[in-house]
Amino acid sequence: MAVAVKTQTLSPIKKIRSVPTEEYYVPGHRTCAGCGPALQYKLVAKAAGPNTIFIGPTGCMYVANSSYLCTPYAVPWIHAQITNGGAVASGIEAAYQVLIRKGKWEGELPNVIVMAGDGGSVDIGLQAMSAMMYRGHDALFICYDNEAYANTGIQTSPTTPYGGNTTFTPPGPAIPEGKRLFPKDPPQLVIGGHPAVKYVATASVAYPVDLINKVRKALNVPGPTFLHIHAPCPKGWKFDESKTVEVAKLAIQTGMWVLYEWENGEFKYQHKPKEYKPVREYLKVQNRFAHLTEAHIAKMQAFVDAKLKAPGIPVEIPVPPPRATA
């Protein structure tokens, strides 16, 4: 009886020059000029290679990429509802398991990758993602985080930072900070309750070699894995589209985003700055934070300071006022 296994080992790379030249996310898609999520998609597809199936829950990376009966995916790709990326991936992985076992399909178990936005991962898609991880399917769930429902015109999501101006959290005299709630922590959500998951990491478009290596490691590790990828959105965050990588880098330099790996219970940091810049540096380059006052910024700095103590440590956040809206 054939057993569905991956014998492949995707090897790590050391430098930018060693990044594979083949593209599996090809030019010709309707994503924004300077799109962070598109950039991470390109890198993920390169890292994973041809033996890959992408599942694309609804979001920018569905609608903008597959606009009007054409797609940029050189490997098999399937649309999923925004609700069910994890479940569709489960079905595909299970199908390959049984089809290989029964001799109905010959070849290696493919890399099954869900490419979900923040909403499709930790908001409406959370249930399906969690179940995929609980059941132990051999699939990689990627949350490309542009910190809003960008496809529908920039509405707040559970990862939109405190103080973010979105079309559902506009600042106004009654709610001067715009978004009042502090964000969910997706990797901690995964680590916290899914014993089948042995590898979780955060990544950023600012560090492509690190990102590629994390994708490869996640695909080499058997069972479900999770990557949380910071993907700045020039439209939603309102910065010049040439600054996507610069903004991503600033997030790491200010501690707004932390690069780490979690493997079998151990945390390891990557590209950790020796000294963090003030959060203000990050906020001031994005117009979504233009309305914030000194008091708001101080609140945000306190949140980041607490968070930087260590991943996984619960952050004491200022309790939002009782009538807080998302």
Binding site: E23, V26, T31, C32, L39, T71, P208, S242, V245
Partner: protein
């Protein structure tokens, strides 16, 4: 059978073939207001433009040892100009060039 004009046919169940190399049905070179222009003399092949382009519009030509720009798809975001380590890339207004015309009859 329904009478579906040839030009309006849609593949069965909307399943479409995967593109090879580029997606010819979504040409994006007409998105640019500015284009990156390279001075190969200054380029040290740091590869930042290649790695950071969301649209894969910079590729390394190994034989020629130089990076090559794809005018047909470049949307003009200029991340490459911003991330260029040697100032080999400069932002230049698209109307200064006669080439790079992608005249689509219809959008999409």
């Amino acid at each position: 059978m329904f009478d579906i004009p040839k030009e309006r046919e849609v593949p069965f169940a909307g399943v479409t073939p995967a593109p090879v190399g580029e997606q010819p049905m979504m040409i994006t070179g007409n998105w640019r207001t500015y284009r990156p222009v390279i001075d190969h003399e200054k380029c040290n092949l740091c590869m930042n433009c290649v790695i950071f382009c969301p649209d894969a519009c910079w590729q390394l030509n190994e034989a020629e040892e130089e990076v090559v720009w794809n005018s047909k798809y470049c949307k003009g975001c200029l991340i490459c100009v911003n991330e260029c380590t040697t100032a080999a890339l400069t932002k230049t207004y698209e109307l200064d060039f006669e080439d790079g015309v992608v005249r689509l009859e219809k959008l999409f």
